[in-house]
Amino acid sequence: MNDQATPEVVAGGSKRTAPPPIERIPVLRWVRENLVSTPFNAAVTAICLIGLIYFLPGFIEWALFDAVFVTSDHKVCRAAEGACWAVVGEKHRPMFFGVYPYEEHWRLIIAVLIYISAIVITMMPKFWSYRILVPAWIFTLVSTLTLMWGGFLGLAEVDTSQWGGLPLTMILFSGTLVIGFPLAILLALGRQSNMPAVKAVCVVFIESLRGVPLITILFVAVNVFPLFLPQGLEFDKLLRVVVGMAIFFACYEAEVIRGGLQAISKGQYEAAEALGLGYWHIMIRIILPQALRICLPGIVNHIIAAFKNTSFVLIIGLFDILTATTAVMQDPEWRRFTLEAYLCVGLVYFMFCYALSKYSQLVERWLSEGKRF
């Protein structure tokens, strides 16, 4: 399999002789190379094909031909054989926006659009400069939080306990990253530190928090933490949750980053020290850029996990997109069609996670091509 001596061998499979004419047709060539290149591959292909033939027509019939797409009457859906996508139309507002006041939903739509644009800008290398990104994110944070909170400019005030749905999922996710990622780098550096006290604190912090489930951390943040506070002093529940999730994320991410740090050869440290650079200069200019590059797949892996972890807020009564859907689908008239609603939410999760992973692959390719930003 590793025989890559000449390109002809790779392209033509095991045969060295002139390729048969069939392989000039690109589609057939692709099929030959990817689906039936070995007996094992051919068997797998056959099994998958049989599976598709068996399940796909039924699924398409259910999801498309027999499905009801638009109706506000649950009886129409009950009468139909197929899927009831109309349930998404009927319930999409509380699914995507939770118990946020109905008349104010336009504020959430604008906030989500601003937020997504900011992320898209951030992902494009041509905008990677402090002069663009810092003001862009300050604008994004101020404008989205103003829109969601309200309380001035004629906007009605909406308490964080009423925030829900997709915006809440996004806030939890970005809050986790914004607080958690810098913390992760500090913890990773602290664990590698020569100072015993710093090292001990970081090790204990990471190991003890990695040893408990996220649910425990959330439960402590929401229910136990307030019991320790003096009367009258209150932190917002959403803030407590975000900080709890960020700390949990940081502990895992710190270990990934530590892996990257350890992969850097000692010569790099020594060379930097020989140049007379201080600790922070060495780390920020020399070590971290290389270390983060090495462990990028691991970092993104945890970021995707963090996105999906936002659904844990179910147990503490916050309505993220999944919890809001579960709650809304209790309605007896529509609850037969919970599956359709969940498929819709699953699609939203998939779009975010797939975009993240595709983007990280792109960044890896840029890095391996030696592109400079």
Binding site: V99, G317, V328, Q330, D331
Partner: protein, 343 residues
Amino acid sequence: MRQTIKSLAVLAVAGTAAFAAAPAVADDGPTLKAVKERGEVLCGVHQGRYGFAIADSQGKWKGLDVDFCRAVAAAVLGDSEKVKYMPLGSVQRFPALQSGEVDMLSRTTTITLTRDSALGLNFGPPTFYTGTGFMVRKSIGATKVDDLAGAAVCVFPGSTTEKNIAALFASKKMDYKPVVIESSKQLVGAYMSGRCDVLAMDQAGLPGHQQFDASNPADHMIIPGVYSKEPLGVGVRAGDDQWFDIIKWVTHVTFNAEEWGISSKNVDEMKASNDINIQRLLGVKGDLGAKLGLDKEWAYRVVKQVGNYGEIYDSNWGPPLNLERGINELWTKGGLMYGFPMK
């Protein structure tokens, strides 16, 4: 004596408190004071259970538990909309109340001795009585519990229902085959697909499953009767008697209003009634409100903005579910809802 103390206290706060104009402010306990300052009642509710608390298609809270939150807000703050709903999980509900995150817990909570005492809570009068009920396929020919010997019973694992059934069948010396499934959707699905003959669960949930989850509702019947005690009530922290009193008497307002024929529609005309009970309740005569630290119109607003118990029940358990009132009827109609004298 009490009057003297009260007037002294009124004088004491008159200078500082902006709302000292209300004569009863002096009596405010910690919870009432906090609620008035905040301008909102923090009410713990279920995250989503139809009939008790659920966000509707517009994301607005609806349900019987929700209506008691609204009733308290109407009595205390004058506006039933001034409620902040805190959806709570079943584990989280008691710590949330104890830590002061909510002022009242109106979340399908069964009143038990342990919760009342060891958890440091107090419970208002039950707002809803329910218990274990049974639904059967008509084809098995059972019409009462005694016919269920040897049946396969679908039930949630670890629930009070599971224990209740075990005790019930043991007391009748009957065998049964429990089929335990954790998720409610799958449990109902198992019953509908014929894996068990009987679906046992909280009685209030059964009519919904019959009408909306069965392919033909007429194939099923709910066996009459309730086979365990689950009185659901509003919980508050122990130690603030005044707030406890408010919760208790707001609940009694809804019972009494129904008994005396006062509804949200006729409450304004009822103010002219000659019945001394109605006059007291609606604040035409006497000062019941002041004794609770509230104004004269507190009960009037409860009925006007939220309704009497019958109206609350019908708006949440009426169409499309049409759950029979059963023991949730007034005591005068053979139920258990009994409003205490308000004088």
